[in-house]
């Protein structure tokens, strides 16, 4: 530190502009900047406030209708205990089995929905004919709540696994397709014109304008779609299943063990958050141009 200061004075001119740090240096820089702002403190304060309110309702005051719900103290002591009173904690293999089964289903459903929805959405947005051909059916099926599909899914698919994956895929597929289509339609006409002037064939326009131009919408769509995938997965697991977080929540309730029920809910929250963070991360990686343009606008 002092060496640097000394250099500056000895040179008698202003210091060279700092280069952008990379890797660990960047991490440190961001942390320093982050700790200097109010964000982390507000976040901690917010979390602390809600946990306190939760404690007050269930354990501090134990208001009527709340006394049956496990408070934060009961919850945490069971969750972290090697010998949980209500059977589920971070030490029981069953807990991980539930998480694993749900995650596996989500990954399959999400990948399937993306693999089908993105190409279909791109074609629907790009080609008037494809849109005319598919849109009425699409718009009729899309508003049907995923729970209304449950009986049909059970009739159509055998076993526990396929109907559940089908339901999650379906919900996710609609969100992905619609956003992708809107993404293509949002692309400014002048990019198509510019591509035309520069001698593009249809194929070039598709890969160089349609796909990258729709990318920001596609990733917004994927974030929504992974959310609705979790939503419908849990709903489906509650109806039919032998494992999974939705199953854990409902079966705990049926067996009157409320702690695993709440553990299941919170675990869902964390895993869901984590999964959208992954989608966001991949999106930002693929769209450096978008991230940088937003950064220039100060966002």
């Amino acid at each position: 530190m002092s060496a640097i200061a000394h250099d500056v004075h000895a040179g008698g001119h202003s210091p060279a502009p700092r280069r952008q740090p990379t890797g660990f240096g960047m991490l440190l820089y961001r942390m320093k900047k982050g700790l200097g702002s109010s964000t982390p403190y507000l976040m901690m304060l917010g979390v602390a406030f809600w946990i306190f309110a939760y404690w007050l309702l269930c354990e501090g005051l134990s208001l009527p209708r709340f006394e049956k719900i496990p408070g934060p103290v009961t919850l945490l002591s069971d969750w972290l205990s090697a010998t949980p009173q209500q059977g589920t904690s971070i030490y029981t293999p069953d807990y991980y089995q539930h998480i694993w089964v749900s995650c596996r289903r989500i990954v399959i459903a999400f990948l399937l929905a993306t693999a089908l929805g993105v190409p279909l959405g791109l074609l629907m947005g790009w080609s008037r004919k494809v849109k005319d051909f598919t849109f009425p059916l699409f718009e009729t099926l899309r508003p049907i709540p995923i729970m209304a599909w449950v009986p049909l899914a059970i009739l159509m698919f055998a076993g526990y696994e396929t109907p559940v994956i089908f339901l999650a895929t379906l919900a996710s597929f609609f969100a992905t397709t619609l956003n992708t289509m809107l993404g293509v339609q949002s692309i400014d006409e002048s990019y198509f014109r510019a591509a035309g002037c520069l001698g593009s064939r249809k194929r070039d326009v598709f890969w160089n304008v349609v796909v990258p131009g729709a990318m920001p919408y596609i990733f917004t769509g994927l974030q929504i779609s992974i959310g609705v995938a979790w939503f419908s997965l849990v709903a489906a697991e509650m109806v039919s299943g032998d494992y999974g977080l939705g199953y854990l929540i409902l079966s705990s309730y049926v067996n009157s063990v409320t702690v695993p029920m709440v553990i299941g809910m919170l675990t869902l929250g964390f895993v869901g958050w984590f999964s959208s963070a992954i989608v966001r991360f991949v999106g930002n990686r693929l769209m450096q141009w978008h991230v940088k343009a937003l950064a220039m606008q100060g966002r």
């Binding site: 141009w289 978008h290 940088k292 343009a293």
Partner: protein
């Protein structure tokens, strides 16, 4: 149109645009709007042709017809003796011999400046991919953009982006460069730098330029000819020959000849603007 109708010199050179009796009627919701009426103009190869006229008079409509973005209703447009559009083919085919630089800029935001510039040659398969990139970088460097070749358009200033867009057009060796009020949103200082950069690129390529603008000083400073258009429907009202010597630079702006030309253009445009205004009043009444 048979080539032998042309004067021999015009056929041999590149980038001669002939607009013959072009009429364009828009038909939105059944109400017919005549944007261009029986308009003819002949642009010589390598000419810098500046188009001025009241807003909404049909300047962009003509540009779009040349570029092949939309069809014409009557007449024909000929480029170097080849009919681009006419009675049998109302919509011109888009091609890299006529490249447009858009008012709001249309560099692909998802490609770096170098990738943008290399795009045209790549899809036309002019050179191998690596060579396209190499030439794109060189071209950007020559235009004074060497420091930002690997930046995305969103990361550079609008002036830089617009210059890069012109580089992206010129690397394809087009016959005609079509510009639709490209510097409209820029401040006076940036504009001046853009003008000098454009003149410098023009002196190197001598491509025919069709340039729409509202700015009369810009028109006189850059142009060989200034076409003053009438209010809608669009026709040529007056052609001003700008016989100021090239190369021009900012000192040209203060000469007497320059001032007189601007005055001449101003009078013609003012008359049309007044007519447009009165027509607007009639329409409102």
């Amino acid at each position: 149109m048979r080539p032998d109708v042309f004067s021999p010199g015009a056929v041999a050179a590149k980038g001669a645009i002939s607009i013959r009796n072009v009429t364009k009627i828009y038909d939105p919701d059944g109400a017919q709007v005549m944007a261009v009426d029986n308009c003819s103009m002949d642009i010589a190869p390598g000419e810098v042709c500046m188009i001025v006229g009241p807003s909404g008079c049909g300047k962009t409509t003509l540009l779009n017809a040349i570029a092949g973005f939309h069809s014409i209703t009557e007449g024909e447009i000929i480029l170097d003796g080849v009919q681009l559009c006419g009675p049998r083919q109302p919509l011109a085919t888009q091609s890299a011999d006529r490249i447009v630089v858009f008012q709001n800029g249309a560099l692909f935001p998802w490609k770096t400046l170098a990738e943008n510039v290399a795009y045209g040659p790549m899809v036309q398969r002019r050179w191998p991919k690596a060579e396209c990139m190499e030439r794109a970088r060189t071209a950007l460097k020559e235009a004074g953009l060497g420091a930002v070749v690997d930046k995305y358009p969103g990361e550079v200033s609008s002036g830089m982006a617009r210059r890069a867009e012109i580089v992206r057009a010129l690397i394809n060796d087009p016959k005609v460069l079509l510009l639709d009020e490209p510097y409209r949103a820029m401040d006076a200082l940036t504009k001046q730098i853009m003008h000098e950069a454009l003149l410098e690129m023009y002196d190197r390529t001598k491509v025919t330029i069709y340039f729409i603008t509202h700015d009369l000083e810009e028109a006189i400073f850059l142009g060989d000819k200034v076409y003053v258009m009438t209010t809608r429907p669009c026709r040529v009202k007056k052609v001003i020959d700008v016989n100021l010597p090239r190369p021009r630079d900012y000192t040209t702006l203060t000469t007497e000849a320059f001032r007189l030309l601007v005055k001449e253009a101003d009078e013609a445009v003012h008359e049309e603007a007044l007519k447009a205004f009165k027509a607007g009043e009639r329409e409102m009444a």
